[in-house]
Structure formats: C-alpha cells, structure tokens
Subunit: 435 residues, 2 copies
Amino acid sequence: MAVITAVDTVDIRFPTSLSLDGSDAMNPDPDYSAAYLVLRTDAGDDLEGHGFVFTIGRGNDVQTAALHALRPYLIGQDVDALLGDMGATSRRLVGDSQLRWLGPEKGVMHMAIGAVVNALWDLRAKRAGQPLWLHLSSLSPEELVSLVDFRYLTDALTPDQALQILRDAEPGRAERIARLREVGYPAYTTTPGWLGYSDEKLARLCREAVADGFGQIKLKVGADLDDDIRRMRIARECVGEHFPIAIDANQRWDVPDAVAWVQALAGFDPAWVEEPTSPDDVLGHAAIARQVAPVRIATGEHAQNRVIFKQLLQAEAIGVMQIDATRVGGVNENIANLLLAARFGVPVCPHAGGVGLCEVVQHLSMFDFVAVSGTMEGRCIEFVDHLHEHFVTPTVVTAGRYRAPEAAGAGTQMLPGSIAAYTWTAQQTDQKVDA
Amino acid sequence: MAVITAVDTVDIRFPTSLSLDGSDAMNPDPDYSAAYLVLRTDAGDDLEGHGFVFTIGRGNDVQTAALHALRPYLIGQDVDALLGDMGATSRRLVGDSQLRWLGPEKGVMHMAIGAVVNALWDLRAKRAGQPLWLHLSSLSPEELVSLVDFRYLTDALTPDQALQILRDAEPGRAERIARLREVGYPAYTTTPGWLGYSDEKLARLCREAVADGFGQIKLKVGADLDDDIRRMRIARECVGEHFPIAIDANQRWDVPDAVAWVQALAGFDPAWVEEPTSPDDVLGHAAIARQVAPVRIATGEHAQNRVIFKQLLQAEAIGVMQIDATRVGGVNENIANLLLAARFGVPVCPHAGGVGLCEVVQHLSMFDFVAVSGTMEGRCIEFVDHLHEHFVTPTVVTAGRYRAPEAAGAGTQMLPGSIAAYTWTAQQTDQKVDA
C-alpha cells in the first residue's frame, strides 16, 4: 500500500506590479502569486501531485498556511483509496465540520481544499498517463455523478438530471476528442485591455490580437467613464465593427452605477459586461441584467462555490458563466458548476490569466466540450500571455486557440527553478504596508 | 504621538467536544476556539485592544495566521489617527486590493479583519471609559454613517436613508439608555436543545429555562425527523402551549427537504426556523419562506457580509435577522447590518454562544435599541451558559435578560490565565485527523 508521505507548501510571488500587467479598476498593483502544494508518496513511481491557489500578493502566506493545515488529513493516507473515490475524498475535506466553520465553503479554507483536490487529480491523471481533460472524459456518466456534492443543489439539479445530461453527451465523445486535438479550443485575450496601459499600447495590442487570430478581446473598465469611452472607441476602431469586445469592471460598481455606466458604453456593442458589482450579489446581477439587456452579464471568477452559481443561473442573472480553476473546491466542484451551466443552457467561458490559471482551467473547458455540454459554440477561454514559462507544461495557444495538452496531469506543476527563484519569505511578509 | 507597538496573536481552544455541549446536525463535536489578538501601544496608559474570531477547532491555526498577517498594517501606526476615523481604518483593511482577493469580504481573511476592527473598538471604548454599546450610542448620526461602507448597498440603503433612520431614533436615546440599565435586554436560551443531550436532560433544561425567566428556548433539529418530533413534543409539554420555541437546522437541508421537514414540525408552532439551508442561498431561503409561511425563517450567523444580509432582506427571505459579532468585518459592518434591518423593518436577534460571542454581541443589540431601531419588541439575544468564566467582563444574564455591561471596552478581553491554559500548539495541530 502506498501512502502520502509529504505535503510540501510554498509561498510563491511574482513581482508583476512593477510592470502594471494585471492592473484593473479594483486591483491597481497585483503581484501574481501562488500558494503552492506538492503531494509526495512512497509508491516509488516518482509521481507527485501539484496544486495551488492563485492570489495577488499580500495574504498569500495565509493561503499557504491553510494548505499546511490540511496536512493531517493527508499524511499517511492510502493513495489508492484517496484517488479511487475522489467524490468521497473531496466530501471528507469540504464537509469537515470544524474546517467548514471557517467558510462555510468559501474563502481561504475552501480554496485550500480546492488546491488539495486539484493536486490529487494531478496525481491521479499522471498515474493514468493522461492529461486531466482526457482522463475526466474517459469516466462514465455514473462515475462523474459520483464526484459531485449535490448538497444545496437539488432544487436546481438532481443526480438523475445530471446523469441525463452526461448520458446525452456520451455519443460523440470520441469524435469530439479527435476534433479538439485537431482544432483546439477558442481563446480570447485580455492582454490589450489593462487599465495601466497607454492608448498607443492599447491600440497596438488590439491590432496584434486580431492578427494573432483571437476571436475576442476584453477591456478593463470602471475607473473613469470618459477614459472608458475613449478606450472603447480606440479598441473598436482597431478591431472592426463586428469583432467581439468584452468589458470587465472587476466589481467596481453598485447596482445603479453599473446600469448607468453600461448604458453609456452600450453603443460600442460589448460582447459581455463582466463583474459589474459584488460577486455575492445575485439579486444585484439580476437587476443589472434586466436593465441592460440585451447586453449580457458575465461573472464567476470570484463566485465562492456552486451555491452562488446555482442562484446566478436560477435568477437569470448571467448570460455567460465564468468558472475559475482555483477559487472553488477544485475539480469536483467545477464539475458541479459545468453541470449547472449545462442544465440552464448558459455557456461557460472560464476566467484565466494570473499565474497558472490558463494551464489548469483549459482542462475543464475541454472536458466540458467532450463530455458535458458537447459544444464549443459561444464558448472561449480567457488567455493572458504572462508567466507561462514557469510551468512544466505551459499552455500552447496558436492562431487564437488553446491546443489540447497531451502531457499527463492537470497542468498544475511549476518548474523547480521558478519555485526556488520566487519563493517568498516570512521576513518579506512582515514588512510594513504603505497603503 | 502613540503608536501600535505589538500585535500578539494566540490560538486558543477549549475541549468542548468532550461533553457534547454545542452538538448540532452539522457540528457533531465542536471544540470552541478563538483566534485571539491583542493590540498594544506606547501610550503609557496600559490600555490594550482585544479581539478574536470564534471558530470550532481545526483551522483555528489558519485563522490565527490571518490575524498575524495583518500586523504590517498596524505596527507603527498612529493610534489616534486609527481610532479617530474608524470608518477610514476599517475601509483601508477591508478594501486592501491584495487581501481582498482572498474573499472578497468573506471567510478567514474577512473575519480576521473583523477581529482587528473589534480590537480597535475595544481600545477606543476603553480610552473613552465606556462600554462599547454606550460609546456607540453617544455618537451623532453623522459620525455613525461615516463608519459604514455603503459599497454594494446603495440599491437598498443610501447614506441619506441611513442618516434618516439614525436621526429618527435620536429623540429618546437618554430614556432608552436608562431603561436598558434598569431592565436589561431580553435573552433566549439554546442550552436545552443540543442534539447530544438525552430526553431527560432536554426536559429538565426546558423546565429550568422557563423557571429562570427566559422568554424563548431553541432546539437543534435536522438530524432525524422522528427524533425531532419526539424532542419538540417533550419541549412543548415542558414549556407550555404559547411559550416560544425556535428550531435550528444548522444548514442541514436542501430546499425541498427544508420545506417538507418544517411542514412536519409546523404543528408545534416554531417561533422561527433557523439556518434551514446553505447560508449562501438567498433564493433558497426565499423559496422556503414562501412555502412554510407563516413560520418565519431566521439566518445570519454564517452570513459572510452585508451584501448577503441586503439580499436576504430584499428577497423577503428572513423574518428574523441574526448577526454575529465575529463573522463579518467587525463593528463597522455590523452597524451596516443593523441599519439594513431597520430599513426593512426586520428584527435582529443575534447569534451568540460559542466562546465570547455573548460578551461581544450584546453591545450591538443594546446600541441598536438605543440608537438604531429604538425598540426591543420582538428582539432577543441568544444565550448559552458556557465559557463565560474566561472573560474579564463576563456576560451577566439574570431573570432571562442580559444586564447592560458598565465596564469600559467591547467585552472581548479574556483572562490571562485562561489564555495560558488553553493555548494550542503547532504540535497539537499536526496530529493526524481521524475523520
């Protein structure tokens, strides 16, 4: 019997604030960071499970402490038992009554559990010799349903309904796997649109995005309306009349402000309006959606768990659902999220960027295409060309499409040299904050 | 100029699981704990600010790490500046863009900020020589409005509307202060109703509650319907026909289960049904409320922030609102919560118990009576007679009423001997979990 012998954690931070990459209306100076975790076993196969939570700097030490706190749940555990029933494994962590008090199912502790779940999936996919998207796509509908925690979902999605969705998508899996390997999955780029960039840089990057084959760009908005109007005009001129331009307010507005601001930008025909207000405000998103229709509302990168996604869908608050690979309770909860979206017929266009989010979330969209929604229609994954060089299997995007990864694992593994070079110390954390 | 010179943090855990005190349908074996914080200054007045987050055991180390992570925001800061504009101080912490990513405004990091805010209020009230409830009640409506972060609230509550609520309650403050000192504030007791207790113990404690002068009792439900029916029958027989009995499911049910279960218990005339489902499920609570009316729904001890309370009120999902002293961003966010409740005309009956929650939350209800809602009608504070002996100014409940505390401060300070006796070590944390 192989057991887990070590759970190593590292606080990793990249000094991205120096270049204003990633600047938006709520996050002026992020330092893209990862609270990082490596699971080791005594199986003798040299395989490790890697997982992380993406953060933007300060507090990454707290997130790392939460990973560390999960060690007693893992050390000495039977690897085959853990990986063989990932539904039970996930529920044991998410459902731990004492840890649950710290959320429940939200924030630092829930994201830590998500990173552990993702690391276990990374290990399982490596043992199977498959990339995660293909590994998940090889499971039966019954096995997939067993992975999902339906608690708090059954007024919108029952296990039987989930099973039916997955069975309906079973025919054609092989063809879709082949198609994915052939053409990849659509990407859109946020690279042109950061608030910290000059108009000249915005224009140049918009033209490059079109030339590079992306099907959509996204602009950050919400700091200053006049600036946003000028920047939207520049972008629209650069990309042409019918090219999709999404806009992203990063939670900047109250409900009345969001309605007024979006109406002022509606003439530029935004593809969607992302995070107009608090990610907790289901009713607020629904009110905004009603008032700015037909402009679609998108949110989800900060949606804390499946209960929020359920309500956003029930309230018809979103026309685009944005899952995030490291915000919720890992692969298992994201399967619940994909099933909810399929049940309500809403396309999933994941949040990515940051550090490693592209590498990880692509597996979920590709699995969705093969085994859940069965379509790429109206779907695309965010792409930002930052920090990929630190990963063992970096995202490959060519001609505006994510190429299906073939390396075994979940895409979560960073290069040892990068980990060593960007490890943050307690001494650095204790420096005074001049905010 | 006095500055903050130290932020000491301690992981404190009481082994309450040994006696099954505090056992409910979701939390079978809580170890009541506090992630505890002491602010020290060089003012030379020997005054300290104490604050804590209540948790139920495992993970208290992570919560303590989050408190520790806030040290760089505090050490070296001008005490008068911090305390003199608590609105700005609170917004600086809650609004820190990098920390905010870890929630936003929810979970471990948000609760840590709440503990710091509460510790600062403890220090401020001590410097003023007043108990916190009286200190808050001595502020002008304008000063109180300046404490509130209205971000995400203005579709339901604007600063002008809040000001009007507070101005309407200004006449009569002095009379209500006198009345509070004379008669205290109504309490209800959860002591009889823990799931781990025998029927005999339940019956004895129900009779004692009535004899002790409490105006309401509460029973935990949700593990087994037959048990709940039997226990409700015993309780109803012990307390008499019209005595209020609330029931509390601690998030155990999905929406359809909640409706069916509550309908099965409706004949016992429950005073309210508490936490029927996920605290995140605003629409679920609203659906349950519609289907079990006129039985009232109560929730809030796990409501992560003011945005959730706003929606629960907007959706008419709750007939009773339950704030918690250490779940949200501290005194400031709870003032927002009290104002929201007043705006929607819903009574606030705080969650308490745990360790120290009674000591702290009573200040908020008493402030609400004096300066916000202006009434105790339909209001009561939860009371559980556990662990008060560890506090410097323990709650005093006599004849079923909280007596207004007169000691300066926020009620947050634990005895040094208790802190020393129940300090938890990293070595204990690392023990294997046999869940």
